[in-house]
Amino acid sequence: MATYGNYQGYQGSAARHAHSGSPHGAHIIDPRLMELVACVPGLFSEKRVLDVGCNHGGVAVDIGLHFNAESVLGIDLDPTLIQHAKSHLSFQYSRLPPSDTAGATTTTTTTPTTESVRSANYFPISSILTHGHIPYPAATTPPTFPRNVTFSTSDAITFFHLPSPTNPDAMDLDTPSPHQRKKQSQPRETEQPRENEFDTILLLSVLKWLHLHHGDAILPAFFSALHTALRPQGRVVLELHPWESYEKAAKKVPGLRGRVGEIQVRGGENVVRVAGECGFEVVAEVEEKRDGKGRVRRRGMVVLGKR
């Protein structure tokens, strides 16, 4: 069971809004990215981006391919999802026309255009699935697509070297198989982030899981770690779950049932307040969207900057 939101085939709240439940095709850029760039121009262009809880890597690959990012690092605690993400990166590279596969990014603009997206999906999916992927080109300096996108198996707590969670059993909700245990015991692929390492850090529908598993105490520690890892002009993007989503998750995951009642910091505005206490300020906001029945169709997003 995906107790950390590490769902297989998860597409985020964006998919529900645009396609009524079905995952969108790989040639469609995640609409959340387009909204973010509309709010904060140049959010990814020539920036070092970290995607925490990258899942299958769709967002990270889109940023690396279409938004001219200098580098993108996607981390997720689920090794299966990281495998998928790497495979997706290879797949997306294989779709580029030959002139673009020589180790050059397709876009040099900050926002993808219809034309650039079309050219990035030159080769049919059928060919790639039938004949296999194209091998990566030799490494270049600076790294260009696909070498500007990397994925690593790591959870946020380990990655940011956060203090021990309030409940040490929190990490054992998913009883891993012996094979998974072996994988978990292997050393992490990444080291602790350096100070001022990233320009943009994405936390898309991630914070709820950290919050539920580790309680309110994790928030200030986590935001402080983000503050350290972020450059002075850097940005943190938070896609926040509404409170009813916390309650729903607690119903699904037996281990979380007791913990949801202990949480005091409820609602997006209170989470942002905690971030403010750790040296962040709100730079931009993308409104939450609800349908006629009051259900959330698109989660709200907040872009934070260093004060």
Binding site: P23, G25, F91, I125, I128
Partner: protein, 463 residues
Amino acid sequence: MFVPRQVQHHTAGHPSALPRSKASRTTPPARASALQQQAATAQSSTTTPKSDIDPVNAKDIVLSLEQLLGSFNSHTPWLEERRRTVDGCNDYIHLAALMECPFFHDTKPVLSQITLRRALAAAPSERLQVSADGYHIRYTGNRSQLFDERTVYIEPSSVGLTTHPGKVARLLAATLPSEFLPVRYVNAGGRAWGFVTLSADVTEEHTDPETGIWPENWIVMTKAEWLRRDNHYRAHREAVQKARQAAQLEERMSRMEIDSTKHRTPSPSPPQPHDYDPGLIVHLTNLHSGINKPTISSFIDRSVDRYLRRLSKSKSKSAESLNSNPPEKKKTMVYIDYAKGATEAWVRQTTREDSELIVKALEKRRRRMTDNEDRKGVKVKKEEGEVYVKGVVLQGEEEGRYWKKVREAMGRKGKKGKGDANGGNMSSSRKEEEKRAKRPRQSSGMGGEDLVIKKGRFEEYGR
């Protein structure tokens, strides 16, 4: 006996018991009208309300049925075997047969006879005729051929859409000009792509997204363009792979060159008499570029095994063989030396006889490795030339040079702790055994990671 309702639905009037049932074959037209009346009365009392099915879903199902029955497609032979004589017409098909058709295998929710009947009632079709009993249908129009000129390749905006041919047809019907309609057939290649055959020829101009005749965010190209890009992709991939192999080979050679220069002694001694057992190394060429140790090992083992088997068969037939011993089974290979992506390899045996046996077996069987058959191999025809995997036992200077490189390589590896106590390398089979022994037991349920990660599976998802 308790029979679940789902099973009851599937087995009721099940038509897959071939050949045609006696009852359906011999229904005379005179009796058909009586049956029709009976069915009409039965229907009026037992049918479920039409409103129980979503009208959009009903339309999708009917459009799918029209595609399946109204064209000469890959399922046509399957359907032909299941046609029945009902109401005097011999081309009716039972709904239960349609449910079973592979065309609907990926359709969700799974179809039932009730669903089909409700769909046909809620969205009546001009081209589909329902029998009097309500459980058989036939196509009344002329069935169309699936011409390439009328076929387009599509990548819809959402994944899984192509597995619902009716939905694809409905979405296209909403945007395409009437000349292209109706949609004749949707062939789902995968969850994210497929081919759609329309009613008129489609040109490059038509597929331009600027025309606005296609649903939003769909990638559409003519079949000719798809074929061109597919060929382009294959050629491009092959070129990239070749360049990569060449670079790897070059790098490997230069590394070996540097290593041999480093280890060269200032005053080279005259060539020593053999300090190795000659005739143990077989040089393999024409291998497949995607080789690895298991594939080479399997390919050779299989070749030798089949060769020996044939040899023993032919000998047992002849009278002389009665007194001769059966050929000895080949020993395990000691070492396989290959580079990733290279098309050649060196295999070391324990005896000269084993090396010769491998060479003979490869020469006799004349098989080449291919993408899918790199273990089994594919028989090479005479006209294809000498493209099969060949083996040559190294001799003379060539053999001496090879052994020298091996010794140097072994010396280097020895420092890293590899190799056995005698300075030799661990055999690949032993390594495999050790690996297997250390491997943790896979969970039997869904938790086993190997069950989840499958190459190419993810590509399907999300695209």
